[in-house]
Amino acid sequence: MTLLTVALNNLRRRKGRAAFLVAGLLIGVGTVVALLSVTQSMTAETKTNLESFGANIVVTPRTKDVTLSYGGITAGGVSVGRQSLSQADVASIGSIPSRADISAVAPQLVGAVQVKGRRVLLLGVRPEQQFKLKRWWSVGSGHAPANDHELIAGSAAARTLGLAMGDYVRLGGRRFTVTGVLGETGSQDDSLLIVDLGAAQQVLRRPGQVTLVEIAALYAGAPVDRIAAEIGAALPQAEVTAMQEAVKSRQHAVDQFRRFSYAIVGVVIAIEALVVFLTVMGSVSERTREIGVFRAIGFRRVHITRLILIEAVLASAVAGVLGYAAGMAVTYAALPLIAQGAEVAWAPLLGLVAVILAVAIGGLASLYPALRAGKMDPTEALRAL
């Protein structure tokens, strides 16, 4: 028999008291785990959402000519039809060292065309990449251009030109079918006719040319300015603009959310420590006589202190494991209600942290009661003598 045996038997055979201590810690640890895992899951989901905000790097030809403004973005100086990037340049973007941190590369060709006697901007895109970049683009019951004979119209352009789904449009001698009308975006996109990049190059007679490239870098990946620098090195003839402000504001939003969670976790930990402290203090007071017996039969003060701490640490470790399980269960139940579409981010490290946290809180909060138990006067503790 050792102090550990005594502690284990106390916890095992006085389940009611042990359960009270474990429950106090379990609720706290469970809350912390749930809060952290929900935060983690929401942060992951927020990152995904933020990545759908659009491009955070724009590549345009280096020029000192007139300014081209598109999509609310001032993208360097370019004169449409005079200077442009090539599709080989687009391929070079895919070979930079941080290419894995890029989620979408959307090359675009912009040019003016004549439709029904009106001049209108034609935008050539790679539909898959473009729709990935501009997730707010919607064509209702229609669909994105699936070949070089299909076209979608911005809402304003459709209205002005009287276009509807299924209509035919002639551009540069080619016939296009309108397969969708973009929902109103409130941007210049509303005034565009959008076709496949290859088709646009043929209509505008600029084969292999690209006006600008919009790039979405993954939020969790390498810093945007580093990716921009790598692209700049790969394309010395191009102007690479990193949209720093957007990224910073995204980071700020996520960081604020995380800080808020940590503050709540701090408060929960403080309450939890107080609960453990009061429970162990109560337990020590209840066990006054028992402690007196231990002292009378020759236990040193340090033995009493150690016994109380061993019990607290054992109960805390159990509470840590159960608290982690409870916290993850709460996460599974609550996450769909808090953040629709978010997936639970499993973090085994969080389990380890939960147990360590529980043991640390249990140990530290029990330290004073344990020391106090060790300092009890054996005669007062025994009362009988």
Partner: protein, 262 residues
């Protein structure tokens, strides 16, 4: 008798507590318990209470000393001080030549573990430990193999006739059985001195005789026992009985006046 006081698991090297005045084994044995001018005053909110007012007592090794007296006479206070549980206000107590209250720090706890076996009035068994575990408890902080601890505890439990109840929790034992477990716990360290505070106070007369027979057997085996009681029926078991009154040694039975309150 010189008992080695081990340092439990705090320090690995056992140390021997040197007797205060080693003037030969015989004298040490003759003055095994040596109490001189023992005083204890309790300071409280009201007037100070003088529980002991200068008690002198010498008892040889192997005695079975009964301590009697009315409530408030100071007998339990004396036992607590003899057990190293309460510091005296004045005077000294030496056991086997060791001046108890001159021991530094936690050595007094080591002394209790190695020199003393306590038997309490209300048994004071730990409710969540079985009879065997309660008996093993004093060994819990000693460095020795678990198997040895267990076998020694079983041996003592057998000696008090409770080997078959080893796995029972105190709540499942009768008063007499709990008392036996308490005695076994006091014996497991093979202490030179057994202190008992009203050990039969909570027992019926039949069980009282059984328990006193057990103490008598321990006495015959050479154990030194000091027992506090106010039950005159067990007085014949003692080889010496002192009566305390108002914190002083009043008299020794049978020489006390007939009307001496005990």
């Amino acid at each position: 008798m010189a008992v080695v006081i081990s340092e439990t698991d705090q320090e690995t090297r056992p140390r021997e507590v040197a007797p205060a005045a080693p003037s030969g084994q015989d004298e040490r044995a003759a003055r095994f318990i040596d109490v001189r001018g023992l005083q204890k005053t309790f300071e409280g909110d009201g007037a100070p209470v003088h529980a002991l007012r200068g008690l002198d007592l010498v008892a040889p090794e192997g005695s079975f000393l009964g301590v009697m007296g009315q409530s408030g006479s100071g007998k339990s206070t004396f036992l607590a001080m003899l057990g190293g549980l309460s510091h005296p206000t004045g005077g000294s107590i030496a056991v086997d030549g060791i001046d108890l209250y001159a021991l530094p720090g936690e050595r007094l706890a080591d002394f209790r573990r190695e020199y003393l076996g306590f038997v309490f009035q209300s048994f004071n068994l730990v409710p969540y430990l079985t009879a065997l575990e309660n008996v093993t408890l004093p060994l819990a902080v000693k460095k020795m193999p678990s198997a040895d601890k267990r076998s020694r505890a079983l041996e003592v439990l057998e000696r008090v006739g409770l080997a078959d109840r080893a796995g029972h929790l105190p709540g499942k034992l009768s008063g007499g059985e709990q008392e036996r477990v308490a005695i076994a716990r006091a014996l497991v360290n093979e202490p030179p001195l057994i202190l008992a505070d009203e050990p039969t106070g909570a027992l019926d007369s039949e069980t009282t005789v059984e328990i006193m027979d057990l103490f008598a057997a321990l006495h015959r085996e050479g154990n030194t026992i000091v027992m506090v009681t106010h039950n005159p029926e067990i007085q014949p078991f003692f080889d010496r009985t002192i009566v305390l009154r108002d914190g002083r040694l009043d008299c020794e039975l049978p020489a006390c006046p007939v009307d001496t309150p005990v």
